[in-house]
């Protein structure tokens, strides 16, 4: 898999501008190293979805989040998705921190970009599969985003058996280890539902959209 280097630049705070030559060279070098040494993995399961009082409900678990409700509105199923690029990136960041903080910052941004790109790649496969079934997928929606409680990490971990399947574990503060990991709901809707829907997703849905440095130009 390849890391989108413009995404790395965005995570480093360059906004929409191109990074300087030296930074670009370093980004390329670090990205190549991560691509070579990280082993991304993912897992997911598809579960039926219903709504109670306007909130999504999965396996008797009611999730009181308006954001997620909006995201999953019209869906009949949902994928619980988790992915990681593994522990190597964290080790490389720690290692860089002992020698050069600029390298460490770049490694951290490249790792963040790598897990995004990997999740996008898997997402694309899932989208194609869904399409073959006459369905379409909603954008990923992660615990901790908007009003979706971070506490749901425990549910993901349990249902997907994340420690065993992809080696992702939680500490008491619900941080994932390895750090470059993602969990998300991905709604599955019948295609006809989608045709009349004005999809608001990603940055457009976020409360910090007007002030965020990492905001995508288009979303």
């Amino acid at each position: 898999m390849t890391i989108d280097e413009t995404l790395v630049e965005r995570f480093l705070g360059f906004g929409g501008r191109q990074a300087d030559e030296i930074t670009r060279l370093k980004i390329r070098e670090v990205s190549a190293r991560l691509e070579k040494s990280c082993h991304p993995r993912w897992t997911g399961t598809r579960l039926p979805l219903r709504f109670e009082n306007g909130f999504p409900c999965i396996e008797d678990r009611l999730i009181e989040s308006r954001g997620l409700a909006r995201n999953l509105d019209g869906c009949e199923e949902v994928i619980l998705f988790a992915a990681t690029i593994g522990p190597e990136c964290d080790r490389l960041i720690q290692r860089a921190e002992a020698v050069s903080m600029s390298d460490a910052a770049i490694c951290q941004a490249a790792g963040a970009a790598m897990i995004e790109c990997f999740a996008d790649e898997v997402n694309e496969q899932l989208r194609k599969e869904a399409e073959d079934n006459g369905q379409s997928l909603r954008p990923r929606f992660s615990p901790g985003y908007g009003d979706l409680p971070l506490d749901l990490q425990k549910y993901f971990s349990l249902v997907l058996d994340m420690p065993k399947t992809i080696g992702v574990r939680l500490n008491d503060s619900l941080l994932m280890v390895p750090s470059k990991s993602i969990t998300a709901f991905i709604g599955i809707a019948p295609r006809e539902t989608e045709e009349n829907r004005e999809i608001k997703a990603g940055c457009a849905l976020c409360e910090a959209k007007d002030t965020c440095t990492y905001r995508r130009e288009t979303s």
Binding site: G13, T23, R95, A98, M101, A105
Partner: protein, 795 residues
């Protein structure tokens, strides 16, 4: 009368049981219900499960205690374990297998994450497992079966708990992916080497894969493992059916036929994991009737391991980096006294990049808490290097502190033929595992003849045998002594090496550079002596891998001694030494200010030297470095310069400051103020805090960096003790902002005049005000500006 298990395992083929989850579910266990509680509520069902396996022919059946620990059942551990062992015993009796079958106390992962990444302290993990072990031993289990482990450090905690709390045999199986890697990093070989060192009585793999995928990994393990190999696959790879349930597709016949291959590569005990049933085990046992059993044998290899690298001491000599040893190194002494671990880590990385295979770690200095510093150094070093470490100390307590937390099988430096050191060190090596360096000296001192040194070696070998260590785990140090004070000393050392290698088939090691003490141009003597020692069969050398002459002597010798296939390493090192393409080495000479602004470390250091030749150090700081930093800082604030450039400039400035420091012979420039930085309790992501630290230091602030995951009490106590006026706190997640708030509350109580600045991904100005901080800083420059305000008397 039942034969002790240890008299059978490895000498005949034994069988484990299979899966339990799906069987208990079929008997009415609800999803989400804890199977362990069924030992108490539905003993008859658990007995039926265990009994079915005993009747199918399993010799070893696991108690239904996979999830039993204080983390799930704070007050019920003993009750559950006693019931579970009683159930298994009852099942064995009902099956009529009391004469030849065993009850295994089953222990699974704690489900918690160990420090430093997680919240569970290593010793707390040991204690949690110990609670289960004590109950199991009390109830009369025949062995401890630790299984499905995917973190080597957690597995170590469980093994130590078992070893320290009972005399039962301890088996361990771990979970690997299809490529034979642990999901937490590290190969199956690495895990095997480490766990054998810890003294497990059987090692192997279980869960996650089916027998077909496991065969390859079992084969790899069979080449390295000396203890009996244990293999318990799932009934194929898990698959989710249309109802969202996990199912396994490999039936008993297919399972058994795949397991033949695993039996052929020498597995001593076989069974199943998820999805396997008593039928799988029955058919497996039948089908292996005609397959001859391969007894375990000692592989006679000398192996040490780090988190993901194994080094074999033997035919191909190894380089052990000597730079992390404070003897004669002022800068390292200072780093150790200040507990400046980043300096120690940078030494490790530099040696690894220069080609070291193993890194020596000696942190002994008068007046420091060596055990604690050894422990922390090991933890920190293993976070950045995957190479094996050689723990080096004359203090057995410091050795044990390092060995206990070490993630792998270390080298231990050292023991001698003195009774006292043998008694102090060998039991530690037996308990924790390691390859031990044995110095050829005894109560009488260092023998002056090779004959005398061989006698010492012999005594060490003999003692090792008495303590239950294998000869492979001893490496003899022939002792390189200063040739300038006794001219025949090099010859004596070389003879010792040659004879240990030839007559004893033993491994040898030398601290090479001692030889040249007192002579000019020491590296010339060192390099020649090194080559001679290699020719005499030296297996490992403690040297400075950053020294080009030593490394070229090493690589050339290997090439000449037929120890470098196709001269691969030699040629590789030559191409690295070629001067690099001139493109980057531009002719342009930059002024110090330009070099810092452009973030060029080397150039900044050169330019600083030049400036210092003409100007006073303070003038260089005030007219070149500070203006450059200011320009970059302002650029960052105006968004014409971005984070990587800001940091590169900071690093270039740091390089320039080093030159200034050297010129001022240590007197540091006046600090503008002292402050604390910490990432709050529960939070392990501290890169942002570290960026802020670099910037603050460049602007002349002294930073007490308390690290990450820091207790509020530690921050408050330090602030009081050190009379701190400004504290900076970082937190990444909403969950950890709570800990930040607690820290602020405590600080307000203990030192009301101290200012608090906060930062981190989820924080905003409003949020910061809400939790009572004095200031929110959105990035490193804002923190610097706020520090200027506080210490400039404006805040």
């Amino acid at each position: 009368m039942r034969k002790p298990l240890m008299e059978r395992i490895g000498k005949e083929r034994l069988f484990f049981d299979g899966g339990s989850g799906t069987i208990l579910q079929a008997r009415g266990l609800k999803p989400g219900e804890h199977p362990d509680l069924w030992n108490l509520s539905h003993p008859e069902e658990v007995i039926a499960l265990n009994r079915a396996y005993y009747e199918a022919g399993s010799h070893i059946v696991n108690t239904n205690t996979f999830g039993t620990s204080r983390f799930h059942f704070p007050d019920q551990v003993e009750e559950i374990v006693l019931a579970a062992v009683a159930n298994a015993k009852k099942a064995r009796e009902l099956a009529g297998r009391e004469e030849d079958a065993y009850v295994a106390l089953d222990i699974g992962p704690s489900g918690k994450l160990l420090e430093p990444m997680g919240d569970l302290a290593f010793e707390d993990a040991v204690e949690a497992f110990a609670e289960v072990v004590r109950a199991g031993a009390k109830a009369g289990a025949d062995l401890v079966m630790i299984e499905t482990m995917n973190d080597t450090l957690e597995a170590k905690a469980a093994v130590l708990a078992a070893k320290e709390n009972c005399d039962l045999p301890v088996f361990l199986t771990m979970t690997f992916d299809e490529s034979g890697q642990l999901l937490t990093g590290g190969s199956c070989e690495c895990a095997a080497v480490m766990m054998e060192g810890l003294g497990v009585d059987g090692f192997g793999l279980n869960c996650s894969l089916g027998p077909r995928q496991m065969a390859k990994i079992a084969k790899r393990l069979s080449e390295i493992v000396t203890v009996p190999l244990l293999v318990n696959p799932n009934a194929g790879l898990p698959r989710t059916n249309r109802l969202g349930q996990t199912v396994f597709d490999v039936g008993p016949e297919e399972f058994a036929s795949c397991m033949r291959e695993i039996a052929d590569c020498g597995a001593s005990a076989l069974g199943g994991c998820c999805g396997t049933t008593p039928d799988h085990i029955r058919v497996l046992i039948d089908s292996l009737n005609d397959v001859p059993f391969i007894p375990c044998r000692n592989k006679k290899r000398t192996l040490v391991s780090g988190t993901s690298v194994i080094q074999e001491i033997g035919d191909i000599p190894k380089v052990i980096g000597e730079r992390i040893n404070p003897t004669g190194k002022k800068r390292l002494q200072q780093a150790l006294r200040e507990e400046d671990y980043s300096y120690i880590l940078s030494q490790a990385i530099a040696q690894e990049e220069a080609g070291a295979d193993i890194l020596d770690v000696n942190v002994g200095l008068p007046g420091i808490d060596e055990p604690r510093i050894m422990r922390t150094s090991v933890l920190r070093l293993q976070g950045v290097t995957s190479l094996p470490l050689q723990l080096d100390s004359s203090d057995p307590e410091a050795l044990e502190a390092g060995m206990r937390i070490y993630n792998g099988k270390p080298m231990i430096n050292s023991v001698s033929a003195k009774e006292e050191t043998i008694r102090a060190v060998m039991p530690l090596v037996k308990k924790y595992g390691g390859v031990l360096v044995g110095l050829c000296l005894d109560e009488e001192g260092i023998p002056e003849t090779a004959e005398g040194r061989l006698k010492c070696a012999e005594k060490i070998y003999k003692a090792a045998e008495e303590y239950g260590l294998s000869k492979e785990d001893i490496v003899i140090d022939g002792l390189a002594m200063t040739v300038s004070s006794s001219p025949d000393s090099a010859k004596i050392t070389l003879e010792t090496i040659r004879r240990i290698h030839g007559e004893y088939r033993g491994n040898t090691i030398l601290g090479v550079s001692n030889i040249s003490f007192g002579l000019p141009m020491r590296e010339r003597i060192n390099a020649a002596f090194f080559a001679m020692a290699l020719q005499n069969g030296l297996s490992a050398a403690i040297i400075n891998p950053n020294n080009e002459m030593m490394m070229s002597s090493f690589r050339s010798s290997l090439a000449l001694l037929e120890k470098d296939e196709n001269f691969e390493k030699y040629i590789q090192s030559c191409s690295n030494d070629q001067p690099s393409a001139p493109a980057m080495k531009s002719e342009t000479v930059f002024s110090l200010k330009e070099a810092v602004e452009r973030g060029m470390k080397e150039a900044a250091s050169q330019a600083a030297k030049k400036e210092l030749a003409e100007k006073e150090p303070l003038e260089v700081i005030n007219t070149c470095i500070v203006p450059a930093l200011d320009a970059v800082g302002q650029g960052f604030e105006k968004k014409t310069i971005y984070l990587p450039q800001l940091l590169m400039a900071a690093e270039a400035a740091k390089a320039a400051f080093e030159e200034v420091k050297a010129k001022m012979s240590g007197t540091v420039r006046e600090t503008r103020g002292r402050m604390i930085l910490a990432t709050v309790k529960g939070d392990i992501h501290d890169i942002g805090k570290n960026i802020v630290k670099v910037m603050l230091e460049n602007y002349g602030y002294e930073v007490l960096d308390l690290g990450r995951n820091v207790d509020p009490e530690v921050i408050a106590d330090t602030a009081v003790k050190e009379g701190i006026r400004l504290v900076g706190l970082s937190a990444l997640m909403t969950t950890t902002v709570k800990a930040m708030e607690e820290t602020i509350v405590l600080l307000r109580k203990t030192c009301p005049d101290t200012k608090i600045v906060v930062g981190g991904a989820v924080l905003t100005k409003e949020y910061a005000e809400k939790i009572g901080a004095d200031r929110y800083a959105k990035d490193a420059m804002e923190t610097v500006r706020y520090a200027d305000e506080v210490f400039g008397g404006k805040a």
